[in-house]
Symmetry: C2
Subunit: 475 residues, 2 copies
């Protein structure tokens, strides 16, 4: 077939040189053969594909658009044309033998192109859609290609295509007939392995460390660049930290600080920020030690860091509308901080109370709950409410200042209701207002602890509880 077209092209060239009108001659002599060929077997790269729907921008070469329509094999064909190119529609319709849906726009109206693409893909969810950028102005094809890649994020069955040609006849200023092909443009993601790193960064910036880590590992594998594994390890560290798997987090942070001391990172932003990661490693070490030793007296920094971590986790869950988890983390932070406060009086919640304390607590509870003393329930192990009351009994000025006497009654329920959470043993769903109050109390106790124990970090304490900035992740 190509041989036949090759011969034809030579004849055509000679006749044009002999003075015949190139356009008319092309229409009579070359086009019918080429059209026939494409109707039977269009040339498509990288391989033939049956599209359900296609959208084309039409310029002053209707033949190219016709080939694109035949190449996509689509049966629902939209043609975006301008007032100037409307005249070619009839010829295309005749040539392809399929009904067209014409869409008229002004020459450079990219916004309308976006709108039409959107309408078509929305009506055809699940179907394959070809966006053909062959014809029309640069504005039109840039709009189609841009729209194509924007919408492809949401509709993975969209492909951008165009008709290309292997050979161009410089003399005739025309593609050599038979050298045309429809190219299905690959996505950068398909052909560039290492754009996985971009997806990793996208997840990282949203705080989705587990997902980010997976993409970084993938990148390391594809690029054989081991530095991506270090980025993955940073993600593992943050993920473990905010999943409260402190042992893993600390282990990773320790290795990270070691790694950043090697020459590989000497001039890299990450290497230069080693101090930041060292501080984070110290934070994690303090929490780890606290979890092992439960020493509220000598490891103030550990209590502080764990409570701050829990409050940050609580906020993260709140941002995602996860009320139960928001509540659990806030309760746990408050409990820790009250225990720290009790330790100032050499008390723990498990310790047997003196009779004197018992009487005082019962009296205080009876006052707050407005119940006779003998109807006040008291457990061996103090719950959150009990701890707060014990501290009030001890005239702890900090707790007295933070826990609003008026609200303590309403709170008594909230403070006692943790165990009845649907996620623990019970069937209750937390009340958002109460959770907010619990968090507020915890935050105030945390602030008090920070000042009292003179905990100050470099850079700033708050910053050291955040992930490293994205600007460190480049080379």
């Amino acid at each position: 077939m190509n041989e036949r077209l090759g011969k034809l092209w030579q004849e055509y060239k000679e006749k044009v040189k002999a003075g015949q009108d190139p356009r008319t001659l092309y229409q009579q002599m070359v086009w019918p053969i080429l059209l026939d060929f494409w109707k039977k077997s269009p040339v498509v790269e990288p391989q033939k594909f049956q599209f359900d729907v296609s959208i084309h921008t039409l310029g002053t070469s209707p033949e190219a658009t016709t080939l694109a329509i035949l190449g996509t094999r689509s049966s629902e064909v939209y043609v975006i044309h301008t007032p100037e190119t409307r005249k070619y529609l009839e010829q295309i319709r005749r040539d392809v033998g399929v009904e067209l849906y014409p869409i008229e726009i002004e020459k450079n109206d990219v916004v309308t192109i976006y709108k039409r693409i959107k309408e078509v893909v929305e009506r055809n969810i699940g179907k394959t859609v070809a966006l053909d950028v062959t014809g029309g102005t640069k504005a039109m094809s840039a709009g189609m290609a841009s729209g194509g890649f924007f919408f492809r994020r949401f509709f993975p069955n969209i492909r951008v295509v165009y008709v290309d040609n292997e050979e161009y006849d410089e003399e005739l200023r025309r593609p050599v007939a038979g050298s045309e092909k429809l190219v299905i443009l690959p996505s950068p993601h398909e052909v560039l392995g290492d754009v996985d790193a971009f997806f990793a960064l996208e997840h990282y910036s949203k705080g989705e460390f587990y997902e980010a880590q997976r993409y970084f590992r993938e990148t390391a594998k594809k690029t054989k660049d081991n530095r991506y594994n270090v980025l993955a390890d940073i993600c593992v560290m943050y993920h473990a930290w905010y999943s409260l798997d402190i042992e893993t987090a600390f282990e990773k942070s320790r290795k990270l600080v070691e790694e950043l001391q090697t020459d590989t990172w000497l001039n890299h932003p990450l290497g230069k920020s080693r101090g930041f990661f060292e501080t984070q490693s110290k934070i994690l070490e303090a929490i780890k030690r606290f979890l092992e030793e439960k020493d509220y007296t000598r490891n103030k920094f550990g209590v502080f860091a764990l409570a701050k971590t829990l409050l940050k986790k609580s906020e993260k869950h709140e941002m995602h509308g996860e009320t139960i988890l928001t509540a659990l983390c806030a309760y746990r932070a408050l409990e820790l901080l009250l225990q720290e406060r009790l330790s100032l009086y050499n008390l723990t919640p498990d310790m047997p109370l003196t009779d004197e304390d018992k009487i005082a607590i019962r009296r205080e509870m009876s006052k707050i709950l407005q119940k006779p003393e003998d109807q006040v329930e008291m457990h061996d192990k103090l719950g959150l409410f009990g701890m707060a009351i014990l501290l009030i009994v001890k005239k702890d000025s900090c707790v007295q200042g933070i826990f609003d006497q008026k609200r303590l009654k309403a709170l008594s329920l909230a403070l006692q209701s943790r165990n009845s959470s649907l996620l623990i043993h019970g069937f209750d769903f937390p009340n958002e207002k109460q959770v907010e109050y619990i968090k507020e109390c915890a935050r105030k106790l945390l602030k008090d602890l920070e000042i009292r124990a003179e905990l100050r970090l470099d850079p700033s304490t708050d910053m050291c509880f955040e992930k490293a900035g994205l600007d460190l992740f480049k080379w």
Copy 2:
């Protein structure tokens, strides 16, 4: 200025008509003036913008590329050219007076274009980058535009630009000098308000219902199409369901079923799937009733649905690497299912045990823990381990079959360790293997309950615990 160029253009046209060579004449007569004008004040739409970096595809009109460089005002200029267009580089360099970084590619090598864009943007994180698609073949500009919109997802400072012209001189087949402008292509997201719905769908398909809901509300507001609020409500329902806020979930599902009966949805896929949402509403109602009445005997469906929900939630957390939450949900599911099993013997975990049962449990525990009977600790309220043992003592064949005697010892710790979770009262992080085993046991108990109580749903039980398919969200 435009007036001056207008006059110049007329003179130029006349001279061309008089037979002078258009290209040489343009270079001598028109171009120096136009260049000078753009150097001082380039025409940019929608407004002037200072780019840090620019990448250009070069075709056979170096002047257009020169204008693009001047329009972007970039100081780091990359020019993608082919072997055929290399010859224009020198002229551009001279005209713009800035050093160029040439990048040679083969005519249709889109992959290399992607690679170069990637390298440049990676080296310039945080800087503004213009991708100019004015020159070159369709393949080159389609590649640039596509790459531009792909990378823009990760690097928001990328813009696709091109040089357009207001007036085209049909006779000379050239843009009228002075009518050129650099257009900064808007993103579909900027100009089409309602693409928020796409972001909603993207979140929905990932099971991020809270985020999806926000985008649907935004879409409803922007488009004034109230049907998007119904989609938002579907998201609220699923979010509440998997956040265990069953009351909200049921309330939303009830309203949804009502809404879908109205004429608006008569022929819509959502309306046609009303049966599916009705089943989901029944599931939620059963859970809600169970949470209120705690009736393990008559509301088998409620127990089943809650346990299945907890196991699904556990899996969701596992998928995101959240081990503590994976464990909490699995524990809770197992607890519910063991309680349901106890109810078959008219037992509850809070009930005082008969002396006979106490002795039998102690004996069984002593065997499993390999401890003398008097060293076995027993609590008033049975924990998970205690419940499992009680059922074994009762010769419950289902529990006997599921709980592997050999592994029960190792499990005893896991079953007792829920309260010591870092999120509850303790300082422990769960062991993944144990969590897997807990889940396996819960799954088997769930299966037994499903068969025993003859719970079968339409469409399939499993499907009714999943979100509605994306194909229902269109019109």
